[in-house]
């Protein structure tokens, strides 16, 4: 089955070239058919790859440049169940977004579809690559497509600002990543990940390796919008068209974390001492989850709110990875799955609201979508899934992370997703039910709106949103999925078996027989999930009816929470120079922490 991995990249990239090249020559329905067929075929092949990677890594050496005597000469794709599973989610989300944009972006040129397909191919390549420099190339291809997609609607200033901030912050990250590659190559003479890990395993972590590691991992964390590198995310999501947001928020931002996990478990685990690398990641994850959850609650622009909700869940996933255990990684995987589908569904609903009412502002939309029961139900269900209510949406992933986390970590992670969920619940109640006050100074000033109403095929868009949300909700109760996620995580963490398979072609031990049942979760997780739901509902109601709170409560709230909220608003300044400064400072601090801990 080693013929599949290159096709996951080749099909979308070729289709992108065909669509862009044959624009104006072929009739529009044929173009649409090519685009959707390419995305669907990629997704189907990804599922086939998932099935065939169960027993061993599917390894493809480009151009037939096999290893010689355990030394990698060529460039490879090495795909285990985790990477193949990622390709499946990426394929599903991009296919849904492409079908959605058939009517949502009807007036857009074909270049839009071509860029989406290029992003699809690049993301699949990134998830499968077994070569460090190759990772960089896929990362850049994906990023350039994303910058262009973000700034696609350039008739207004907002998209230009969003795309500029996105492009410059992420490019700075990519260049730091490139320097990291050069340093690591200087030390090891290798670019293949398996080879790099083998070479580093024979020595101590010198200063050079720590610097290289910092630059490489921080490069991914910038892509992954982890605090303090997250500042670009809200600006970019706020202005991108809804289907682009679904891809960006659902899969493309989160994929940076796969890079972190891949580099850690195949390369830097060899130089880690007592899990020090993971500790720093865990801290970053916790701060990200709570801070971004808070920021989500302070937004009135639906897409910015969703952007911060994405960042907050990325924090939870990063914490899961930072625990360095099998269950933590499996939990991060399951959250990725559920979160990608749910977030995409919520962005689809936001797009429908935007198309119907020409507004995306919570307060301006108040009560205007009364009676739209299907989108309202999709919004509510998606929100509940993102909070982690027991046995719904991201719950299973959260509960797996709970298992390996220290007692003080667990409530903080739940707090992050509950805060983000409360924001989304508040917005849903205000927009679809007309609850709450008509104005709230806490949420800042209104945004410049795009009053442009779209002529859309509404039932199709609603259907896609419902499919995405429904699939995301079901993740926690699919029988056998939890066990397979754990097995995939175990395989992903087994560096020895990965190296033996990639470099020496040694087969892996056969997979155990995995049961097909819903994974059992602990009582603690049930309580935390229930508690998070109650907290989110209470906070949402408090946000809706802030004025009706007793005077002493609101006065005390203003005294204690007012100054930090103003600081948070001020820090998210929207100026790209500040963002780059944060990137540099964040990288330096993270690197210093690692240098001290790994000394």
């Amino acid at each position: 089955m080693s013929w599949i991995p290159p096709l996951l990249v080749a099909i979308p990239l070729l289709a992108a070239a065909v669509t862009a090249g044959l624009d104006h020559v072929t009739p529009e329905p044929l173009q649409d058919a090519i685009v959707v067929a390419a995305a669907t075929a990629t997704t189907a092949l990804a599922f086939l790859l998932l099935w065939s990677s169960e027993g061993h890594e599917v390894v493809h050496w480009f151009g037939g440049w096999q290893t010689r005597g355990g030394v990698a000469l060529g460039i490879d794709f090495a795909v285990g169940p985790l990477a193949a599973g990622m390709c499946c989610v990426i394929g599903v989300v991009v296919t849904l977004a492409l079908v959605y944009s058939l009517t949502f972006m009807k007036e857009a040129a074909r270049l839009f579809d071509a860029l989406m397909l290029a992003a699809l191919g690049a993301m699949c390549g990134f998830a499968m690559s077994g070569d460090l420099f190759n990772l960089f190339v896929w990362l850049e291809l994906m990023a350039v497509a994303a910058y262009a997609l973000t700034g696609f609607l350039v008739e207004r200033l907002g998209p230009v600002q969003g795309a500029v901030n996105f492009a410059i912050t992420n490019t700075t990250g990519s260049y730091l990543f490139a320097i990291g590659i050069a340093l690591l190559y200087a030390r090891t003479g290798a670019l293949n990940l398996a080879q790099l890990g083998q070479t580093l395993a024979h020595g101590r972590a010198g200063g050079l390796v720590v610097v290289a590691m910092t630059l490489l991992l921080c490069g991914f964390l910038i892509k992954g919008a982890v605090v303090p590198f997250h500042l670009w995310a809200a600006d970019a999501y706020a202005v991108a068209p809804a289907p682009v947001c679904a891809v960006l928020g659902g899969v493309m931002t989160d994929i940076g974390l796969i890079g972190v996990a891949r580099l850690y478990w195949t390369v830097f685990v060899a130089v880690d001492r007592g899990g020090a690398i993971g500790d720093v990641l865990l801290w970053l994850g916790i701060v990200t989850a709570v801070l971004a959850g808070t920021m989500a609650f302070l937004q009135r622009h639906l897409k910015r709110m969703l952007a911060y909700s994405v960042v907050s869940h990325i924090g939870v996933m990063l914490a899961g990875i930072g625990l360095l255990g099998m269950t933590g990684l499996a939990g991060a995987e399951l959250i990725f799955l559920a979160h990608a589908l749910l977030t995409a569904g919520l962005f689809f609903v936001a797009g429908i609201l935007h198309a119907d009412h020409g507004a995306i502002d919570e307060l301006r939309l108040r009560g205007r979508a009364r009676g739209c029961w299907v989108p309202a139900a999709a919004w509510l269900a998606g929100t509940v899934g993102l909070v982690g209510t027991p046995y719904v949406g991201i719950y299973l992933g959260h509960s797996l992370i709970d298992e390996s986390a220290a007692a003080w970590v667990v409530p903080l992670l739940w707090l992050g997703s509950a805060l983000a969920g409360a924001a989304l619940l508040r917005a849903g109640a205000r927009i679809f039910l007309g609850w709450g006050d008509a104005d709230d100074p806490l949420l800042g000033k209104p945004f410049e709106e795009d009053p442009h109403e779209r002529d859309i095929l509404r039932p199709l868009l609603v259907g896609i949103a419902v499919v995405a949300v429904g699939a995301g909700l079901a993740i926690s109760v699919v029988p056998g999925l939890g066990q397979r996620a754990e097995y995939a995580a175990e395989r992903f963490r087994d560096r020895g078996a990965y190296v033996a398979q990639v470099l020496r072609g040694r087969p892996m031990p056969p997979p155990p027989a995995l049961p097909v049942s819903v994974l059992h979760t602990s009582l603690d997780s049930l309580l935390y999930g229930g508690g998070a739901t109650v907290f989110a509902v209470a906070l949402a109601l408090a946000g809706l009816y802030r004025r009706r709170l007793p005077n002493f409560v609101s006065a005390a709230g203003e005294r204690t929470l007012g100054p930090p909220v103003r600081v948070l608003h001020a820090l998210h300044s929207g100026v790209v120079g500040d963002y780059v400064t944060w990137v540099v400072v964040g990288t330096a601090v993270t690197g210093a922490a690692w240098a001290i801990l790994l000394r």
Binding site: E140, G162, V164
Partner: protein, 114 residues
Amino acid sequence: MSYLPYAVAAWICVVGLFGVATSRNLIHLAICLTVTQSSSYVLLLSVGYVKHGGAPIFKGTKPGSTAVDPVVQALTLTDVVVSVAVVALILALALDAHRLAGTIDPDGLADVQG
């Protein structure tokens, strides 16, 4: 092996980042990004340099003769291509910014914040 090329690479990188962080003009900013990027070219080429090594073309040379590392040159070329695409995109956005806001100062574009 001299440390000079590495010091030069580090200096270029820091100068470029300083420029990106403080720039008040998008075109200037794009150039600063390419400056940052050039530090990785210098670094890569100095990593692969071998004293008295020839070009890595082995046609007509005797077996065993020293040559510089061809891999880093390929990496540098790829880097250049990548950076061209990114800079082209940022310059296009700068044009749009000028058309819409009449300024290419990134601070002047910041109408969304928080």
